[in-house]
Subunit: 360 residues, 2 copies
């Protein structure tokens, strides 16, 4: 069977492949019947999801996967992905669906283990697009060291969806023994960001608007569990972690300031933003501090561990551009301020509405 | 704050309430901005999801919920719900989203504990509809004794969704120590169904087509974890369980026959189908054995425990109409046959495509 061969080839080469199962010749697009509980649905599940995501837990093929996460506390999270366009420089909706949920687990100090995966397909979706998405999910899951262990597929009529929506829920095991949460944030904590801001949102907007720039702006989507595990295993004291997705850095800081009742000050010149991203933001009338990222997080680290934390992060592929960008100035009512290069401070507020719709 | 009052009232009275938060007067419909990561999204999450689903695990308000499921194996499952219409006799999309995932956990012999909940809202959805759905989810979760501990909200542009899609993933703890799976099915096992078939699918179809019948046909959606726990705690040996959703009884039996390599025979006269449901099926050209249920399951029980299992099921509200409908006749290649009242046997095959689209 061709599917099996394709999968073997991928397993061996560990490379991205676009070869589709033979059945795609007969059904090149998703039909309502692919979600109907009959033979076509079973074929889709076998040939696409089970064969690509292949692992012992998933292969139980029962209503639930039965798992052994080990003893102790677990972390549990979910996200739905509705990004448009489905494919963009640096990734696609499938990459996001894996990395985004892995990152939410990592932000709790958990080691991500298992993902569930729910597809809502629109009738008429090209099977080849689904195949490419599913292959990317497989690769992203391997990179993040998680297994997709259970799933679900629904099909909605043409015009009642938008190609494909993906929900992933994730389970991780808690390995960091202290609580990581806004409530742990202390006066004097330093803020470290793991890299440059704004690329994911700009990559999406540029694709959507048909813009091109001199340099290619690719999404920053990556799994963050590795760098967090590095911090934990080096014994760094971590007070709070937050990934900088919808609403960007500014919204994340406002949320934490509110939950922790602290004043946070960041230094504008220290915030890493690539020149091409800054230029694109100006052109599009966006502020990079509010633009979504998919591989960036902020860590609140007590003064005593800041240097070590920065060095650990810089030695991880997911933290090479890490930078200290500010600190918690005092316990107070929630406030986020930013000091510019010439020493002027302004309030960095939460945005009211939507800056970039459907960026994840 | 009115929201809080409303919630208190509900908590006290434990009744369904349609009073909406005050902010709904300003924003009676979902806007794209409700999914944008800004103030409006936070308001929606606080006033609707957090206040209605209120529990200590959810109130952590972090990227993941940190949980203590206890020692041992866990079960993990997911389902997306795309039913149309959103409201139907006997329930709505929210009821299904809780019961469906609870039931998938129960079918593995797990006691359901925690649910995640991902909403994909279409711009323009009436806030009051969302409120009713969320209230139903709260009630269903209480009835099924599960907590909604983590969630996500996305908004898609008008015309790119269909009101609301809901994904729930669930975690349960394994309390039955034997494996419950098709591989455990034995020659001689009896098949017990917990009630009459076909009501959910017919309730949906009737609403969709504007049909009315002399008696009201309501969806059979209920949580099944209680009756399964009863079987387990009574020491019944359970070989396999399967809920009879998409594709109905016939598809479930075919799946199990295939996975277990057995021949299954069922007795047509023993299969409980209400007269009005049978009539509606004839009118609509449907076979009740292929129609989806949302509160029905089939149990494979060894001969020695059949009587006791039937009696335990009949004493549970979720099994009052339980009936023995057939047995596993032999190990062989997969085959499902049905014997009619006059003794004629025919093959009950899996359907190829879609019988009823979007029934769950």
């Amino acid at each position: 069977m061709n599917t099996v061969k394709t999968i073997e080839k991928i397993s061996q080469s560990n490379e991205f492949s676009l070869s589709c199962p033979v059945s795609f010749q007969k059904y090149p697009h998703v039909l309502l019947a692919h979600g109907g509980g009959g033979k076509l649905m079973h074929q889709l599940i076998e040939e696409v999801f089970l064969s690509v995501f292949d692992n012992a837990n998933l292969n139980q093929r029962h209503d639930s996967a039965v798992l052994n996460p080990g003893q102790g506390q677990i972390a549990f999270t979910t996200d739905s992905y509705v990004v448009q366009p489905l494919f963009f420089p640096g990734g696609n909706i499938g990459t996001l669906a894996i990395n985004g949920t892995v990152n939410d687990l990592a932000m709790s100090g958990a080691r991500p283990l298992y993902l569930s995966c729910g597809f809502i397909l629109e009738e008429g979706l090209a099977m080849e697009d689904l195949w490419r998405i599913v292959q990317s999910m497989r690769q992203a899951a391997m990179k993040a060291k998680v297994q997709i262990v259970t799933g679900d597929t629904k099909v909605v009529d043409k015009g009642k969806g938008d190609g494909v929506f993906i929900n992933t829920a994730g389970i991780g095991i808690m390995e960091y023994k202290q609580k990581i949460s806004p409530q742990m944030v202390q006066e004097g904590d330093a803020l470290i960001v793991n890299g440059d801001l704004g690329r994911h949102g700009i990559a999406i907007m540029a694709t959507r608007e048909g813009l091109s720039f001199e340099t290619k702006i690719e999404s920053d989507t990556i799994p963050l569990a590795g760098v967090i595990q590095d911090l934990i295993s080096e014994g760094i004291e971590i007070h709070c972690l937050r990934d900088l997705t919808r609403g960007g850095l500014a919204s994340a800081l406002n949320e934490i300031a509110l939950a922790a009742s602290v004043e946070i000050n960041i230094d504008e010149p220290q915030i890493p933003v690539r020149e091409d991203v800054r230029g694109a933001c100006e052109m599009l009338g966006l502020d990079p501090l509010y633009v979504a990222n998919e591989g960036r997080f902020i860590a609140f680290i007590p003064e005593k561990d800041v240097k070590k934390a920065l060095s650990v992060m810089k030695s991880s592929p997911a933290g090479r551009e890490a930078a200290i960008i500010g600190k918690v100035t005092r316990k107070s009512s929630a406030l986020v301020t930013m000091t510019s290069a010439i020493g002027v401070s302004r309030i960095l507020d939460m945005i009211i509405g939507e800056q970039l719709p459907r960026i994840c």
